[in-house]
């Protein structure tokens, strides 16, 4: 059965002959014999493409979640992605290109990223946006690195309203950077910054907007805390919500980060997504990752190129602002296409519809016996947290049988990472429900009815 290797028997003979070798084996003469794998890899033989595709389909069919109506969110949302966006972002010129090291033959991708940067900058209100980071979590980590680096202070105050997984990643990487990460707890869905006021030097204050329980917090206190401590303010902002709520810049953010998945990327079991990263102009030389800028070519024609490269690892090595090399360019390009498709009005429409559906759903659920809000009367946007009379994972299990992915159990979200921001009972009975513009009234009504049955 053919594979992807073009070498004919004659090619092999000719090429080996040219090299003065008599076998392919001899190509590996520099590998000490004692280290060589005598018996070959302990992997099955190759199978033809159609079999592999069938196998992958079977695995897909074993994911019951794929067939459920999705009310899960927690940073990954089931938004509308139209065929036109998939067709354009899937063009093989974009998909099979490398990082634009040769700008003369990479203007297409470069310009798309320049457009992406502009859109992200407009969304978050800050003038500099990079070409993407791995995901929201990594963008947050880089924001913290920028903040501590720029202030020279290693204290990091993070709202417990920041996504638990992101905080977990922050703690993981802090082991290397030596940052002291302090968490400000949530009370009724709102960060209580005062709890931390006594502690040492602070380089960066991190807030989320809306936070992971869906709440819109007043970020004035966060900004004030940062000012008092001479720290930067980094805001992790939902980029869809940003279309209708105040931008990070409006709250005085120095850095804004976000998870860009809602812009054209499928749920994808969590990746590849893309980290959005924006900052004030004064921080541009600490910007992590790639940045595309406009310039001119030898004929004076407008052109695009990656710029300020002296920050990057391939040039600055151990002194680089970040180690990121490969990022999520294709997702960034996809986001530019999706945002271009949505446009000014469509983006606002999506955000409004989400909020609208979430309000309808939340109101209906709160009418169920025993279902209580988890975040008091704090305003929410497209996602909200409830306290159920039964454990949330049980509710999710029961609703899956009815065709719904009812949401995310807070326990599952925070549990693995040992997050203490919620009490044990709130966590295990807490359900986080997200409503996107794709969810219909019938679906919501059906979910609410099923939930009513499940909690009875």
């Amino acid at each position: 059965m053919p594979d992807y290797l073009p070498h004919t028997g004659e090619d092999l003979a000719d090429m080996l002959g040219f090299l003065g070798l008599s076998s392919l084996e001899e190509l590996f003469a520099s590998v000490p014999a004692a280290l060589r794998l005598a018996a070959g890899l302990g992997l099955p033989e190759g199978v033809p493409e159609p079999d592999v595709l069938a196998r992958a389909s079977a695995r897909g069919a074993a994911n019951a979640a794929a067939g459920l109506v999705c009310f899960a969110g927690a940073g990954a949302y089931d938004h509308e992605v139209p065929p036109v966006v998939r067709a354009l972002a899937g063009r093989s010129e974009f998909v099979t290109a490398y990082t634009p090291y040769q700008p003369e033959v990479a203007q297409g991708g470069l310009q798309a990223i320049f457009e992406f940067q502009t859109m992200v900058s407009r969304l978050y209100g800050l003038p500099i946006a990079n070409a993407s980071l791995y995901d929201g979590a990594s963008a947050l980590v880089e924001a913290v690195n920028l903040g501590t680096g720029s202030t020279g202070r290693d204290g990091v105050v993070v709202s417990a309203g920041v996504h638990p997984h992101w905080r977990s990643a922050l703690r993981t990487f802090a082991a290397g950077t030596g940052h002291r990460v302090l968490e400000a707890p949530l009370v009724e869905g709102v960060t209580d910054w005062s709890a931390l006021e006594a502690e040492g030097e602070v380089g960066v204050v991190v807030a989320a907007y809306p936070n992971y329980l869906g709440c819109l917090e007043d970020l004035g206190p966060a900004r004030r805390l940062a000012d008092e401590r001479g720290a930067l303010l980094a805001i992790a902002a939902d980029p869809v919500g940003a279309a209708i709520v105040r931008s990070p810049a409006d709250w005085g953010a120095d850095v804004a980060v976000g998870e860009g998945q809602p812009f054209g990327t499928a749920l994808s079991f969590g990746g590849p997504y893309l980290g959005l990263f924006c900052c004030a102009a004064s921080h541009v030389r600490r910007l992590p990752g790639r940045l595309v800028g406009e310039t001119l070519d030898a004929d004076g024609r407008l052109a695009y190129v990656t710029t300020l490269r002296a920050r990057e690892q391939d040039i600055r090595r151990e002194k680089a602002t970040s180690n990121v090399c490969t990022n999520q360019t294709l997702m960034a390009l996809t986001a530019a296409v999706q945002l271009g498709w949505l446009g000014t009005a469509g983006l606002a429409e999506v955000a409004t519809r989400c909020a609208c559906g979430a309000r309808y759903c939340r109101d209906a659920m709160l009418r169920l016996d025993g279902v209580e809000p988890l975040t008091g009367s704090t305003p929410t946007l497209r996602e909200f947290a409830l306290h159920l009379p039964i454990p949330a994972d049980l509710a999710i299990e029961r609703l899956a049988d009815e065709g719904y992915l009812a949401g995310v159990a807070l326990d599952a979200l925070v549990g693995e990472d040992g997050d203490g921001s919620l009490g044990a009972d709130s966590a295990s009975h807490g359900l986080l429900v997200a409503v996107t513009e794709r969810r219909t009234k019938d679906e919501i009504d059906g979910l609410v009815a099923a939930l009513g049955k499940a909690v009875r």
């Binding site: 354009l88 977990s168 994808s268 360019t329 271009g340 999506v350 219909t440």
Partner: protein, 505 residues
Amino acid sequence: MAASGGRASSAPLLGRDNEPTIFELSRPGRASWQLPTTGLPETPLADLVPAEHRRGAPVGIAEVSERDLVGHFTRLSHRQYSVDLGAYPLGSCTMKYNPKVCDAVAGLPGLAGVHPAAPAPLVQGWLATLVALEEALCEIAGMAAATLQPAAGAAGELTGLLLMRAYDEARGERRRRVIIPDSAHGTNPASVTLGGYETTTVRSDERGLVDLEALRAVLDTDVAGMMLTNPNTLGLFEEDIAQIASAVHEVGGLMYYDGANLNAILGVVRPGDMGFDIVHLNLHKTFATPHGGGGPGAGPVAVAPHLAEFLPGPRPVRLPGEGAEVRYGWQTPRRSIGRVHGWHGNALVLARALAYIEVHGGDGLHRVAERAVLNANWIRKRLSSTFDVAFDRPCMHEVVFSAAALHRRTGSSAFDVAKGLIEEGFHPPTVAFPLIVDDALMVEPTETESYETLVALAEGLERVAARAHEGTLEGAPRTTPVRRVDEARAARTLVPTFDAVGKQK
């Protein structure tokens, strides 16, 4: 000999005008979005968002018709070189052909449509995929366990360094230095810093390999480990790897394998067998997941048994249990360093890589390595009279030439050669890396380019060299959408967004 298949001979359809930005195509009131009918009552924005949170003005994105959106991005795609258009012999990047079947796998609704927080019983297919990939990668790397979370090679490196640190701390140690060779990729030292270590650079000897004596000189019990690429970034196999590994192990250090480019050794030799403790693998190189113009990738990290308990979590695992049916779940290692990704890694990239491995099988992966090395050596020998081979000995999957002599003689640098090759219909090799070679031209043909393409590529480079001697290389490329771009100006007069246009002097 048949014509070359890997040479892009695309030609202009039309004029050479720039494509306007989407912002210039925009016109107030135009739109293309269409959203599903939901039947929900409409609530006014004012009732949904309290005034103190409401945005003042809408975010101006762009207002274009679907037709213009399509025209715009289709035209941009015609201004972008790609593997699908022609050979892409970028050293250290492994730009091989990306089988389309993997696109089909990544597009399966049963995979792409799954929410990452869905409970384990509802995502058995995904867990099976991840476990199967982890097992295959461990077999390929000669390791015991792996994490699939890191989103790229650099993320894998940092994960590996944090594993080193956790391992040290568990032993009650606090070592401060990590050794890397001077030929290392820039991500290595950058990761070392983020891992909280200091970089100690060890020089290469005249063979282009780690200088064992120099290494021994810097080894002591403050060394947490050494990061090594093997074959190294000169495309050469570190023949003394066994001695290197035992020297590092002797002082209690760990061996880290930068497996970004595993292509040359698939089924030939395994990092684990060479004495490495930690390996990261770039699935977007060796395992043919497309590079997407700069990402996404995936950089799983595999480790020897003694490091498994530190791996990031939660990890997908086969659940213990009787009966024929295998069940899968999540498990966080006992002394896990924590998460290194927001979810489970770049899952769709992982699914592509598994499909690639399944199509090839153990035998096919070995053939990949053979052909990759054959192609690189053919190019090395063929061009050895045109350029200097930086270290003239059999190479592995790539070869580094130096254009330094040409540069001295003709004034044309490696950079100029690269621009000249564009006019020949090929993407240029990597230039200016590795740093230890002057005027480096790093060629990695990969196994999927045919003999004819190699010949055409070699002829192209020969013609470019001849033009350098003739003095006609300057000003290349002339046939591209734009000509040589002014990189210095871009940095000097930063215009990072459309809104900054005209605001800079």
